[in-house]
Subunit: 209 residues, 2 copies
């Protein structure tokens, strides 16, 4: 799970179950019994492995935070043109989000309830030079300097790109309800979304006009 830690089978199941529970109901809303049931173990085992709910949540959130930014990092590939960067980023990141929806949910949930757990995690990113968001911002800034794209605010632009990719996964239940077509062919919709975002952003950032 975390890069430096190895987990047993049981721990893995607990971790997975906890991630899902915390993602859906938040730290307070999730129940230890419910997590134990989902992991198919006795409730006492939760405490045997993770001491307390706080510790379990901390472990899960640390994992989620790292994965979330790793996902961004993996999507910011080196590429010749900025358009290629944009294209691979949007494609790669949406695919990542599709495969890690609980990661997004828990990340958002933590933010909604104040984001205290975020504080410690952010420092890990800073100390390691690899803050993927900053890498993305830097790449945008560079492209504005070379004139490859219009002179936009790199920070705002990065935020817009991330917003446009992530938001759909947050409000999916509402969208499903308002436009059942989206639910009927989710993957198709996401492919459309990739194409739309690439198209819109390429045009929006294209120099001159």
């Amino acid at each position: 799970m975390t890069d430096t830690t190895t987990y047993t089978e049981a721990e893995e199941r607990i971790f997975e179950a906890a991630l899902q529970a915390f993602a859906r109901k938040g730290k307070d809303g999730a129940r230890m019994q419910e997590i134990a049931d989902a992991a198919q173990i006795n409730k006492a085992m939760l405490h045997y492995y993770f001491r307390s709910k706080d510790k379990l949540y901390a472990a899960v959130f640390a994992y989620v935070f790292q994965r979330f930014f790793a996902g961004i990092g993996a999507a910011v590939e080196e590429a010749e043109s900025f358009e290629a960067v944009l294209r691979t980023f949007i494609t790669g990141y949406i695919d990542f989000l599709k495969d890690h929806q609980d990661v997004v949910r828990l990340m958002v949930n933590e933010n909604l309830s104040g984001g205290e757990a975020v504080v410690q995690q952010v420092s890990t990113l800073k100390s390691a030079d690899g803050n993927p968001v900053r890498a993305l911002i830097t790449r945008i800034a560079q492209a504005t300097k070379t004139g490859e794209i219009r002179p936009v605010d790199p920070f705002q632009t990065a935020l817009t790109v991330l917003s446009s990719c992530i938001f759909f996964f947050i409000v999916y239940p509402t969208m499903r309800e308002m436009n059942p077509g989206v639910a009927r062919d989710r993957d198709g919709f996401l492919e459309e979304r990739k194409a739309h975002l690439i198209d819109l952003l390429v045009h929006g950032l294209h120099p001159r006009s």
Copy 2:
């Protein structure tokens, strides 16, 4: 609160406190005692006025849902050019979100936990012809037909606009932590954000190129 209902002072305080609590911790995470304390009343009064936690949540969420879409509706003004529509929408909607952050939070929280409460509320929008999101989509579709903007997918475009406006408020704690400058001058940042989004979208949707 809701257009058809009148509330007493006490009910108003309860409602406000409940909105805040539910927005931050979700339906399960929020505590009735905590809501009562915040509303400065005896816990029994919660049940006196709202019967049960479920009923209270339902009332609050109904309000939130209506406000959320009313906020979108208010921002979709009639305007001559599509650029003017875009400009007033982004400006108006970000201002709305700034003033109703708990509305956004609860809306998101409900989505994270499955969005069961959304189902009933969506039907209220459908029956009334005023579904503001659909109005926005229609306006975009119209602009593509007149050639005022490029032939983009109206639905995807509307989603992108909404994403870009709302997302910031969802992940604010993380942003604050990663870039303290944002927190230092939040209002300034939001003004920048309006300008950035208008600029990016106007260019991204501008015909030809």
